[in-house]
């Protein structure tokens, strides 16, 4: 790369910095505002304060929202990972008529606008009397999170020695035994990563949950409520905590995916 122009490179780096500032300003801002005593923060910033955190700690609505979010997240993580695993293995091993349709069905949900998904699910689930409950959110998130689980596990499967499964069969393991003793142990890091990431996706999903959860609102839905009602800086406190927990989940997932311990190759 000989033809370098230092000035242009400088501008390019500046541009990256500006983009990053733009992307992280609201995130950092939210964190700072959560520790700020002002209700409507501006410059100069007010005093340091933990009031907002105290406010959400004492707010039963926030706790119930958090509870719903956690329950939904845990259940969705398990369901989406199981569904995604099945889809990933099917794509890995089998070729069949209609496979493109199968894959499209499995992977398209993230491309549909959430408003439309929300409306469709609301109409459908209420018709079959399944709307307005935690189950409705679980169903909707199951649809939206399985593609992520499927992609993660499929990626891991493509790292597997193509003869590994056949070797297990050849040594006396039928398909079920091989699944249990070879495929699952090999994909274990990806399975855990999928569990974490689908939980994180479910945590932050507010739009469809808003449509279908009725009175059993998840936390993001509550946040939406706060936004719509009077503007409340509690949102910042909730947001910062949610961010921290999501990040923890992500970092754990990353560590798992890179685990060199058991010779991941």
């Amino acid at each position: 790369m000989g033809n370098e122009n230092k000035l242009i490179n400088g501008w390019l780096m500046l541009h990256i910095a500006l983009c990053l500032i733009f992307i992280f300003a609201p995130i950092a801002g939210s964190f700072v505002f959560s520790l700020n005593s002002d209700r409507f923060p501006s410059l100069p910033l007010g005093e340091f304060s933990l009031d907002w955190y105290r406010a959400i700690w004492n707010d039963p609505l926030v706790w119930s929202g958090f509870g719903n979010t956690v329950i939904v997240g845990l259940i969705v993580a398990v369901i989406a990972t199981i569904l995604g695993f099945g889809g990933a293995y099917t794509d890995y091993r089998y070729n069949f008529f209609g496979k493109s349709f199968y894959l499209a069905l499995a992977l398209l949900p993230p491309t549909i606008p959430v408003v439309i998904m929300g409306l469709a699910m609301l109409a459908f689930l209420s018709r079959i009397q399944l709307s307005g409950s935690t189950i409705s959110v679980v169903i909707a998130h199951g649809v939206m999170c399985s593609p992520f689980a499927m992609a993660i596990i499929r990626l891991r499967l493509s790292q597997m020695d193509p003869d590994l499964e056949a070797a297990a069969w050849n040594l006396g393991g039928n398909e079920w035994a091989t699944l249990r003793h070879v495929i699952i142990p090999f994909t274990r890091p990806a399975i855990f990563a999928a569990l974490f990431i689908t939980m994180a996706v479910s945590f932050d999903e507010f739009a469809v949950a808003w449509f279908v959860s009725g009175l059993n609102e998840t936390l993001p839905v509550k946040i939406l409520g706060f936004l719509q009602g009077q503007v409340s800086p509690r949102i910042n406190a909730i947001g910062s905590l949610a961010f921290l927990s999501s990040m923890t989940l992500i970092v754990l997932a990353q560590l798992l995916l890179r685990n060199p311990n058991e010779g991941s190759k």
Binding site: L164, A168, W169, N170, L171, G172, G173
Partner: protein, 368 residues
Amino acid sequence: MDASTTPPAIVKFDNVVKKFGDFVAVEKADFEIGQGEFMAIMGSSGCGKTTTLRMLAGLEDPTSGDIYLDGERVNGRATWDRDTPMVWQSLALFPFLTVQENVEFSLKMRGVGKAERAKRARKWLEKMQITEFADRGINQLSGGQRQRVALARALVTEPKILLLDEPLSALDAHLKVRMQAVLSNLQKDLGITFVYVTHSMSEAFAMADRVVIMSRGRIEQIGTPEEIYRAPYNRFVAEFLGSANIFDGVVGAATPGGHMVAYDGGEVDLPASELLDAKTGDKVTFMVGAENVDLAPTDAGQDGLAATVVGEEFLGATATVFLETDDGQELKVQKSHAELKAVKCHAGARLIAHWAPSACHVLPGEKG
């Protein structure tokens, strides 16, 4: 094709054909493997050797024809229901298990208890001299050590037959030769049948009792290495062996011992034992081994093929000389350095190539 007396067959391929869609991978494979034999299946890429092995293992089903294992017809039986463990080209060791757990795997699949598994696995770890690695992950082992784990893993159930799919192809040269000896000795020790797939002729000929040569889905010849080398069946095998000069000829007048055969460059009296039932006018192809061709100077009054030396290759005590006749035919001659010096062999030299009729071998598979 299959001449030798073999012990009772443990494998029988009866007119097996394998097609993938329109592509014929294996065409009418018909042979037997005897108990305790070391059988090599050899050929270049795409010849069908691996497909044949996989059908034996149960990883593919024949399109038509029958496969018998130990007298039983096993078409359609899944690989986990057969006792045909395989050593894979990539070894396919389980990276999430220790060495001992890898070896124990097939016992675990068969429901053997924990203590018994460990005992039997340890026995095989000792046999393959890798006991010290029992609790290590397989990534910590060298290529040769991993080979041994793969062998122990396959043999732990003490099967009657072991399949090997080019297991040495990933090893470097000196390790290859060592492992060839290990495998040979192992097979003789255990007395079980080995079915060994390879693209390397030297490997096959070094280790095997009999060799199956395949090309483009067809079996070209089956025999012991000596048989094949001495009497290749057709042009493909002869060319594959690489050490022969091949001539196309036409059967002419009868002679006391056989017939005259005319070819580009002369005539030769071939015995009936070689010509078999060929009649006058038939086309035959015959070969002369490179070591059986003699060279003489042009002025020595020797009858034969005139040719010019175009190249030489040193092989230790001997050299291979490449010559070209006036008609463009290539000849290969293998002689000691002394013999070549005697006829003043050098690049560009014109010499007469000649051989005894007894050195000629008619390729039975090429009869017109």
